[in-house]
């Protein structure tokens, strides 16, 4: 029989039951105290407190047992964990029956609490096992109420709560017992069937998810092959044009040079696009990054040196503010350098002459916060969510640079997310925009 938690972590649930029992023990102690001391209901207080103590001990032992089973990340078999849960539910039913016996038997409305155990059993155990638990609960409850009715065992009356001796009223006892029994079976039936439905849905989602991932992988592999083939052709085109352009094979007139250079430039842009697409696809397909500790400051200075010429030509000032104490971070240095270079070049490209670019690096709760803000064209409203999408380029960016790949920010996002960081963009209130990312200090 399938259960809802067939494929999820039953161990966590076993621990959850232990935590739930701590709460139940507290409720028992408070209920006994309030009933006896506030409501003045007569109860065998000492026996009930003793039961609470036994429960504390039992729960603690169970906790140690679970710890022993799962110590050091061990994952016991589902059968073993199911057995532990079955044992817990059965033991709880027994303990609840004993508590009920000492606190009025059938006259104590707490007998309704058996329903909780049926719900727990139906979710965590097989349907057959859940019906067995329901039968066990009915047997325990019936055993106590009928023996009390027949006078074979003592009845602890709840004086101050119920005046008549209901436990001696045969019709009441029988009626309550029948309703109780049918309730338990119905609860098991309903919960188990809902569980089964959810379990089927969960399986369906998991299968659909697997299929989607397979399709994504196939798509990426296809893109990888395709782009690689295109790259081969482009490399041949570029190699040939370049020779003509360098006039190694004979002189060109001005018009010929201009046309050949145009063709060479376009081939170069196409190559840059294909290379970026290959890189993004490969990053999506490969496994973990090779992380090392490296100097973020050094990386930032490298990127500043790379962008300096372009910034100077446009009269753009670049300020940076790196918080004291920030140096070594953990990650893939080449990819982080590329990401920062990418953001910095974007800022320089889309900031008009004599603008300013500010870089700030701060510590923030276990992360390094990197921000780069400019006085550039900003991001049109509604585009902020899309600019990290593959191939997306906002209208105002296209107006400035027609042939961007639309992949730079997707690669940046992929890199930062692979480092378990976050990347974002926002417009500045005074114009321009800010791109930022966080990088966990230890991945």
């Amino acid at each position: 029989m399938e259960t809802l938690l067939q494929d999820t972590n039953l161990v966590k649930r076993a621990y959850w039951l232990v935590r739930l029992r701590w709460a139940a023990i507290s409720v028992l102690a408070i209920a006994v105290f309030v009933s006896s001391e506030v409501l003045r209901i007569s109860l065998p207080v000492m026996k009930l407190y003793a039961m609470a103590c036994v429960l504390v001990l039992y729960n603690f032992l169970l906790f140690l047992f679970l710890r022993h089973f799962t110590f050091g990340g061990k994952s016991p078999s589902h059968t073993a964990i199911r057995r532990i849960i079955t044992f817990q539910v059965s033991a709880d039913l027994f303990v609840l029956t004993v508590i009920l016996h000492y606190s009025g038997g059938i006259e104590n409305p707490f007998f309704l609490y058996f329903v909780f155990h049926m719900i727990i059993a139906s979710i965590f155990l097989s349907t057959r096992q859940s019906y067995l638990q329901a039968t066990l609960a009915i047997f325990f409850f019936g055993f106590v109420v009928f023996l009390e009715y027949l006078g074979f065992i003592r009845h602890y009356a709840l004086e101050g709560f119920i005046s008549n001796n209901l436990y001696r009223n045969g019709l009441f006892v029988l009626g309550t017992f029948l309703v109780f029994s049918t309730t338990l079976y119905l609860v098991v039936y309903m919960t188990a069937s809902i569980s089964r439905q959810l379990s089927k849905q969960q399986q369906w989602y998991e299968e659909a998810n697997m299929q989607l991932r397979e399709k994504d992988y196939l798509k990426n592999e296809y893109v990888l092959r395709l782009t690689h083939d295109i790259k081969g052709h482009l490399a041949a085109i570029q190699s040939c044009i370049n020779i003509v352009d360098t006039q190694m094979v004979g002189p060109l007139n001005e018009k010929q040079t201009d046309l050949v250079e145009r063709a060479y430039r376009r081939a170069g842009k196409c190559m840059a696009f294909i290379t970026a697409l290959l890189k993004l696809t490969r990053m999506k397909m490969t496994g973990e990054l090779e992380m090392t500790g490296f100097s973020l400051k050094k990386v930032i200075f490298n990127t500043l040196a790379a962008v300096q010429n372009r910034a100077e030509r446009k009269g753009i000032t670049i300020d940076y503010n790196i918080e004291a104490g920030i140096d070594e971070v953990y990650g893939e240095p080449v990819l982080i350098e590329e990401t920062i270079t990418n953001l910095l070049f974007n800022a320089a490209r889309y900031t008009p002459h004599n603008g300013t670019i500010k870089i700030s690096v701060k510590n923030q709760k276990g992360s390094i916060l990197f921000e780069i803000s400019d006085t550039g064209i900003g991001i049109p409203q509604g585009d902020i969510e899309k600019i990290f999408d593959e191939f997306y380029r906002s209208r105002n960016a296209r107006e400035i640079e027609r042939d961007g790949t639309g992949l730079g920010l997707s690669i940046a996002k992929q890199v930062i997310e692979r480092h378990r960081g976050q990347i974002w963009a926002k417009n500045n209130p005074t114009g321009g925009c800010t791109f930022g990312f966080s990088l966990p200090k230890k991945c």
């Binding site: 482009l234 490399a235 570029q238 190699s239 040939c240 020779i243 190694m248 094979v249 290379t275």
Partner: protein, 131 residues
């Protein structure tokens, strides 16, 4: 002006032609081969000073195989090999650090596609001790 004899082994006829043109302008004698077997034939009949080798030929790894075979053969192991590649994005191999690892990839230098005339000539001259 070099007088050296250079063999280009590449299955892309256009890249081969482009490199041939560049090298010939500098006076080198250039032989071409379209695959590993063709390359071996040329090696047997011609005395060569340099081999320019494509990594992936005909969808396989013939470039790797040929470079290893040549470096294990006493007759040819003195001939420098310049490996031409456009596959770094695909394989993720760092050719810079792999060049010179004699057991894995025995070659003297590497060159990225698309081939830039001035870079090709500089590398070739370097390997022929003409610089």
């Amino acid at each position: 002006m070099g007088q050296a004899r250079i063999l280009i082994v590449d299955d892309d006829p256009d890249i081969t032609e482009a490199m041939k043109v560049v090298l010939e302008t500098e006076g080198y004698t250039v032989y071409t081969a379209k695959d590993k077997e063709d390359g071996m034939e040329q090696l047997k009949t011609t005395k060569l000073d340099l081999i320019i080798l494509d990594v992936i030929m005909n969808g396989g790894r013939d470039g790797f195989v040929l470079s290893r075979e040549l470096k294990q053969d006493a007759k040819y192991k003195h001939i420098p090999i310049l490996m031409v590649t456009a596959v770094r994005e695909k394989t993720g191999i760092d050719f810079k650090s792999a060049a010179g690892d004699e057991t894995w990839l025995p070659l003297e230098d590497f060159l990225d596609k698309p081939v830039k005339p001035e870079v090709l000539l500089k590398k070739v001259k370097g390997l022929l001790y003409e610089l």
